[in-house]
Symmetry: C2
Amino acid sequence: MAATSRGAGDRSGSAQAPAAQTERRADARRNIRSILDAAQLCLARDADASVADIAKAAGVGRVTLYGHFKTRADLVDAVLTRTMEQSDAALDATDTTGDPGQALTRLVGASWQIVHQFHSVLQAAQRELPPERIRAVHDRTLQRVQTIVDNGRRAGVFRDDLPERWLVTTVFSLMHAAAEDTAAGRLDAGDAARVVSATLLAALTAPGAAVPTPAP
Amino acid sequence: MAATSRGAGDRSGSAQAPAAQTERRADARRNIRSILDAAQLCLARDADASVADIAKAAGVGRVTLYGHFKTRADLVDAVLTRTMEQSDAALDATDTTGDPGQALTRLVGASWQIVHQFHSVLQAAQRELPPERIRAVHDRTLQRVQTIVDNGRRAGVFRDDLPERWLVTTVFSLMHAAAEDTAAGRLDAGDAARVVSATLLAALTAPGAAVPTPAP
DNA sequence: GCCAACATGAACACATATGTTCAGGTTTTG
DNA sequence: CAAAACCTGAACATATGTGTTCATGTTGGC
């Protein structure tokens, strides 16, 4: 039951049926945007930001917020969806064709900052939403990585001796780890992209083949 | 702070001063054990198991529990400490000398099940305890990994072009990722150790050197 | 066997968050 | 301008968890 009274956060469970979305008034649309903006910001800073905090940050009454998002989970879902859409848009600008190693390096360069920035939005979602939902929202991004890995395997430059799924997991895992380490001051932010890329290239390269160095 | 009325969970903040621990009665000691056992089990299953749940699982009154652990955080701390001590004991049986690659493989083989088993105990701790405390409790284990990495670097078989800290992070990160993937059914439990070892060996091997295959 | 240490459930105090209702004020929209 | 849509704060209803107090049993040590 993740549906709003009138469709603002309407992503009905896990499939996103657009639904008959009656046109809402201008101020309502404005408020929804403010709320999503504020929520994204608040949740990025603190995964358990309260609904009250978010409403205040949005410059909106708490009741107004509940008028648009039926539950807290609904709001978190909307923020996560929005964040992933934004990330995906940013990633659309990244070329995933050509040499798989370079493609991977490009993708890491474009992704890791986003991962870093919205790390705790994900955390919030993981505490509130069912795992399938998280998985579903990540689908497009996952697909993108999988495509690169797959290309690399077919080209014989990425390893074939481990499950493809695991290689994808490795990519995500190390990006998240780098985000955390950077936040904790254990890894230099200016160096993170290179470090992650170098590690991933080594991890994914087919045994026996020469490990390429990430070209900045 | 994090101290019990009479010293059961007494690890005063971050340093573990043994304190003048007046000998407690036999039934008290018995109950403390039951509580820790139950808490470890409950928290391993659900990171937000309540104190009431744990007391019930321990076959003990809630008030009794609070008599031994002043706060929930105290209890979580005690469980985490205990878990890490157990892990460390298990790891003591693992030879970390000799060929660094094989040492790493041995360590992964001995560790990953533990990581898998107590994954959500860590989660609970991360929500309740300050990051420094988590770090402190992990110190010995961290040191162990770092030693292996360091040996490998000095022997010229592990890479020297990335921060040592990051390599250690990589080891932990991939073990945890494997634990999650296994729990989610995306990775075969029987295959996990091999997969993680193979990935780590590739990730850590010095550029140019031949990547070894994990010997089971 | 006696006394102190310990255990126990019930009840209470407190805090915090989520949702909801209400009675009125404001903005859009047509 | 008028109706409908929307916003608002205050108050309320829940729910849930933590931690404490109390009065009364129970157990263990010496």
